[in-house]
Symmetry: C2
Subunit: 156 residues, 2 copies
Amino acid sequence: MAIIFSKKCEYGIQGVLYLALKGIGTVTPVEEIAEHLQIPREFISKILQELTSKKIIGSKKGKNGGFFLAKSPAKIKLYDIVIAIDGDAIFGQCVLGFPNCSGDYPCPVHDNWSKLIKETYAMLNAQTLDQFKDKVSLKIQNLGAKKKNVKVRPAN
Amino acid sequence: MAIIFSKKCEYGIQGVLYLALKGIGTVTPVEEIAEHLQIPREFISKILQELTSKKIIGSKKGKNGGFFLAKSPAKIKLYDIVIAIDGDAIFGQCVLGFPNCSGDYPCPVHDNWSKLIKETYAMLNAQTLDQFKDKVSLKIQNLGAKKKNVKVRPAN
DNA sequence: TTTTAATCAGACAATATTATCTGATTATAA
DNA sequence: TTATAATCAGATAATATTGTCTGATTAAAA
Ligand code: SF4
Ligand code: SF4
């Protein structure tokens, strides 16, 4: 189970990150992306189409076609991708699921949580793709066949 | 869509919180809980059964039966409920969905995210039910009929 | 101009999550 | 002891998410 972003969103981020590694303007067929990231081809295809229609990436049809980064990695924020796919729901809901709570008399979770959400928001807004390229390239290079075996935790 | 906890988990927290308001040992039929929290009766019933089997609450069968808080609200942490229902997956996965990343060469998200997750973990561990009772009681009192109408955000 | 290789659109299928139904069991109270 | 009101167990149904298929369209290259 995905944690805070939907699987679509995770895949979307991975896909765009992959395009960023190839450099701006380099056209890459979805086949290659799917293969390398081990994501179902038709699924990542749909996702990239969605991101194309939202102008985050671009696409080229026909032979030698594919997807490409439409603008500089420095201008694409994680936030853009998340909003494009998952919307902004995570930023405005009660984490305990109370649908009609105003937060006027905040419960103990409220302040903590809204702080966390604000920090997440800030992080997504601050992180642009260019800041990832070097660090993530290793991970992406190594994906290939082993994707489904190992699972390691991000926390520390 | 629920944000970080599953709907089951949100409902579980709400249900146990409701029991906490009724006071330790007070037996409450699931009908009343479902009615008040506007949660499908059979669904919250299943969830409370699960929490019963995990010893977080207790149940009494037969006429005048129902569910009740098995121990002092001061001894029940949000963490217990979350783990019982959703497990600990959220604390050990890459938020970007890379399944084989070790975090040895952390990407820019990694440090930020693991910090957030640690804070969430700490919060869930620190917050016990007794700390909620007063603040949440108002909200729960007011639920009744209006549950499905208003939606207000927690983030400030 | 025809073949080829790609996106794209829309329907369809599988799976996971959420919700409901049926009936058995249990314990209280009349 | 019988009627009643509850949990509980397991099957089933509805919905949302994830994943697949088919074929149309597009553009490059043979
Ligand atoms: S005060 Fe508590 S219950 Fe209300 S919106 Fe904030 S987190 Fe949710
Ligand atoms: S370093 Fe980045 S990609 Fe790797 S586990 Fe951490 S957050 Fe995920």
